[in-house]
């Protein structure tokens, strides 16, 4: 059953109103297991019925309750997800987040290979993938196949070919300052669904988000590294400021997450870490608090409708 986004958001609002009147949390209605089940870090939930012809469509839980709740269980598998970095010098951060998702899926088992498609020019700009660094992030470099392309057109062709391959688990297409038309991304999204491959479209240097057929879109910016075991002097856990810019299901929001490479899990930056930050980097948007709303206020005050 599919509900148009507008109707869905309206429904959410009504449910929230009823919940407030009844004095309980609205999300209990909609997301019974994702939020309130014991937090197993690696849950692959199946959302909805499997499509005919495709693999069963699961979701990759990120391990952050608030974010998973907003995403209805996590990042959709067998679908297209867009990851955007405003500046191409944030290529390290954006690819880090994408690869952290890969590492998490790899740790969940059933991972055949990742195909990483990138333009040769981009390698000069942001550097080439470095296998020891991948290993340090917690994924197995032996399962990564790099495809170097010359042009955007070739990149999209290769991305489509990869998404169409049933034996593949994940494909990442990295583009720089590309302007893609909607039909190109729609084709990719379709292929991902049919082929059962999780597609990540990594776009660097796109200051403004463009419409695309991706299910969700993350804006990624670097965040000061997190501490490891109370050791605050060094450069610790990698961390990112994520902005959920687009979500088919409705709610969006902003989060600051850290990556624990040992457990292959995301950790939300807690109050302690926030204090340890040398200085606030920028004023948080008033309607998108970096602290998730569900944890404390409970009313979903920070959730906005998807644009």
């Amino acid at each position: 059953m599919t509900i148009p986004a507008v109707v869905h958001a309206e429904l959410c609002r009504l449910r929230r109103d009823i919940a407030r009147i009844e004095g309980r949390l609205a999300e209990e209605d909609r997301l019974p297991d994702a939020v309130f089940s014991p937090p197993d870090p690696l849950v692959l939930r199946t959302a909805g019925e499997p499509r005919a012809g495709g693999k069963s469509r699961g979701r990759l839980a990120l391990g952050i309750a608030a974010l998973d709740a907003v995403l209805d269980g996590g990042v959709p598998l067998a679908a297209l997800t867009e990851i955007r970095a405003g500046q191409s010098r944030d290529g390290g951060a954006a690819s880090g987040f994408a690869l952290a998702l890969v590492a998490r899926l790899m740790a969940a088992g059933k991972f055949s290979a990742l195909v990483w498609i990138g333009e040769a020019d981009l390698r000069r700009e942001t550097g080439a993938l470095y296998a020891p660094g991948l290993a340090a992030l917690g994924l197995d470099p032996a399962r990564v196949i790099e495809v170097a392309v010359r042009t955007e057109k070739e990149a999209l062709w290769a991305f489509e070919a990869a998404l169409d391959c049933h034996g593949l688990t994940m494909a990442v297409c990295e583009l720089r300052q590309a302007s893609l038309d909607l039909s190109a991304t729609r084709r990719c999204a379709l292929r991902a669904r049919e082929g059962g491959v999780t597609g990540l479209l990594l776009r660097l240097g796109n200051e403004w988000a463009e419409p695309s057929a991706a299910e969700i879109r993350f804006g990624v910016a670097p965040a000061p590294a997190g501490d490891i075991g109370g050791f605050t002097a060094g450069v610790g856990r990698m961390a990112w400021r994520l902005t959920l810019e687009k979500n088919r299901l409705g709610p969006t929001g902003a989060f600051t997450v850290e990556w624990n490479a040992h457990e292959r899990s995301f950790v939300e930056r807690g109050a302690r870490a926030a204090l340890a930050d040398p200085q606030p980097l920028s004023a948080a948007p008033p309607d998108r608090p970096s602290r998730p709303p569900l944890a404390e206020s409970g009313g979903g005050a920070g959730l906005r409708r998807a644009s």
């Binding site: 010098r89 944030d90 390290g92 951060a93 690819s95 690869l99 740790a107 969940a108 088992g109 059933k110 991972f111 055949s112 195909v115 390698r123 000069r124 942001t126 550097g127 080439a128 470095y130 296998a131 020891p132 660094g133 290993a135 340090a136 992030l137 917690g138 197995d140 470099p141 032996a142 399962r143 990564v144 196949i145 790099e146 495809v147 170097a148 392309v149 010359r150 070739e154 290769a158 070919a161 391959c165 049933h166 034996g167 688990t169 670097p222 000061p224 590294a225 490891i228 075991g229 002097a233 060094g234 450069v235 610790g236 990698m238 490479a261 040992h262 457990e263 292959r264 040398p278 980097l281």
Partner: protein, 522 residues
């Protein structure tokens, strides 16, 4: 015409010039004096060579074993090929020779040829004799009347023999061999034996002989690419029984398209796993031809297509389940083949660890089509919840250290991973192929950077960790005068993390070390 012995001399000419009495080696001034209307052109060895190579390509239609005999000869090893040209009588050799010469003449070449049991005999006959086919056993008789030069011996030896009055090969044949060898060296005797068919000569073919090949000739030239691809598919189909009989699959395939004007277009396709399926072969070649794009020129059409298996590997009979689904591994291999065929094999790579401390040397990119063990991907699909999977053996036995091997035990409880065991990543996610120099303000002599300017932007360092000292590999020649590097992991106030290094130690190695950005962390 070319410059020889400090004068411009004639090095090649046509039959008309020869008839009028010009010799090879005549100086240009003399030739011009005799025939003012002489048309000359500068000799260009490279162009001649290229033409010869093209002819050799063209000759591939007779046999896969073609060897160059520069500057203007070709050896064709036609063992086992001649009968294909026989038209009822004889063993086809004469018909083959006639076909070669006729086709060459039609292309405007003056050519002579001969067929004999050894290359030496054939060479002598085609260069100094009447050509034609010499049946085995008749070699001595056929070459006895030819001049000594037909033995392919150095000019010095030839003139020496000439002065001794030995002008014909026949005069040498009966002579005692020991004095000959003593006087002129073993070379002469060897050449003589080769010319007589007593000693086999090994030709080195230009192109490796394919393991298997199939070809089809067309009655009319074909221009249409689709028809050519269909032909490739049907050739692939004819190869399948042979591949199955030998229990092999193709790893490297080559399709050669012979254009009627003598050009040969070749397309190679490598595969990541042994391959037999004709449809896949045709698909890969269609990708390859699509990638050629404008380089593909049909001209007046092609009159022959050959499909050859250049490299093969054992392939077990595959079991396909009832639903007709192929295994995931095979599916992946097809994807890599397809990408490689379209983009170029070298562009689809995987990481191979190298045992070294120098960061940029620690990984090699190996084309997937050339790597041996790809089926591990297929198996990996079934291996669940083990990281790294034991059978990849990649991360564990060499190079890449994955954090938290404890995952292997299969436990998922967070208690097994105490916080203290966690370490920050020590290697960047992205590495620049060549480190980019930066202006750095740092504590002297060994302190971490305080701020640095990279790509015209100033970055203030908020936190830094280091140094990690990496010394050059002095046992390598190219590292002899390299300096020690001190690597720092730094983070600026915006949260971007960089891998910087200072090349050279203050005072000991250099007075003003240079800083570089080598990589970006996540």
């Amino acid at each position: 015409m070319a410059k020889l012995k400090s004068a411009l001399r004639i090095v090649a000419m046509d039959a008309e010039a020869e008839r009028r009495g010009i010799h090879l080696g005549t100086s240009l001034a003399d030739a011009r004096g005799a025939f003012p209307e002489l048309v000359v052109a500068e000799a260009d060895e490279a162009v001649d060579r290229a033409l010869l190579e093209k002819l050799a390509d063209w000759c591939d239609r007779y046999t896969p074993l073609v060897a160059l005999d520069a500057p203007h000869g070709l050896f064709l090893d036609i063992s086992g090929c001649a009968h294909l040209f026989s038209r009822g009588e004889g063993n086809g050799e004469a018909a083959l020779l006639a076909d070669v010469l006729q086709r060459l003449a039609r292309q405007g070449f003056a050519a002579r040829g001969s067929i004999a049991s050894t290359a030496g005999t054939a060479w002598a006959l085609s260069h100094y004799g009447a050509g034609g086919c010499i049946p085995p056993g008749d070699e001595a008789e056929a070459i006895a009347g030819l001049p000594i030069a037909a033995l392919r011996i150095p000019a010095a030896e030839e003139s020496l023999l000439d002065r001794l009055g030995l002008k014909r090969i026949g005069q040498l044949i009966g002579k005692p061999r020991a004095p000959l060898a003593a006087r002129f060296g073993v070379g002469l005797v060897t050449r003589l034996d080769q010319a007589l068919g007593a000693l086999d000569e090994v030709l080195s073919p230009r192109r490796p002989a394919p393991r298997l090949s199939a070809e089809r000739r067309f009655a009319e030239p074909v221009v249409d690419q689709d028809s050519l691809l269909q032909t490739v598919a049907s050739l692939a189909r004819t190869l399948v029984p042979a591949l199955e009989r030998h229990g092999i699959g193709a790893r490297l395939l080559e399709a050669s398209f012979y254009r009627i004007d003598g050009e040969v277009a070749r397309a190679e396709v490598g595969t990541a796993a042994p391959l037999r399926a004709p449809e896949t072969v045709a698909m890969l070649f269609s990708e390859r031809l699509a990638a050629l794009g404008s380089e593909w020129e049909a001209g007046f059409g092609f009159d022959m297509v050959r499909l050859a298996v250049l490299r093969s590997e054992p392939q077990d009979a595959a079991q396909i389940d009832l639903a007709g689904k192929v295994a995931d591994g095979a599916d992946l291999a097809r994807l890599f083949d397809r990408l490689g065929a379209r983009l170029g094999e070298a562009r689809v790579t995987r990481f191979i660890p190298v045992d070294t401390h120098i960061p940029e040397r620690a990984v090699l990119a190996e084309p997937v089509a050339q790597s041996a063990a790809l089926e591990r991907f297929g198996r990996g699909a079934e291996a669940s919840r083990s990281l790294p999977p034991p059978e990849t053996g990649f991360a564990s036995h060499a190079g890449f250290d994955l954090p938290s091997r404890g995952r292997l035990s299969g436990s998922t409880s967070a208690m097994d991973f105490p916080e203290a065991a966690e370490t920050p990543p020590d290697r960047p996610l992205r590495l620049f192929a060549r480190p980019e120099p930066v202006e750095v303000m740092a504590e002297v002599p060994e302190g971490p950077p305080l701020r640095f300017r990279w790509r015209r932007v100033m970055h203030e360092v908020a936190r830094a960790e280091g140094p990690e000292r990496i010394a050059p590999e002095w046992w390598r020649r190219e590292d002899m005068d390299r300096a020690t590097r001190d690597y720092f992991r730094v983070e600026d106030f915006e949260g971007r993390r960089y891998w910087l290094f200072r090349e050279g130690l203050y005072g000991r190695e250099t007075a003003s070390p240079i800083w570089y950005v080598h990589g970006l962390f996540a």
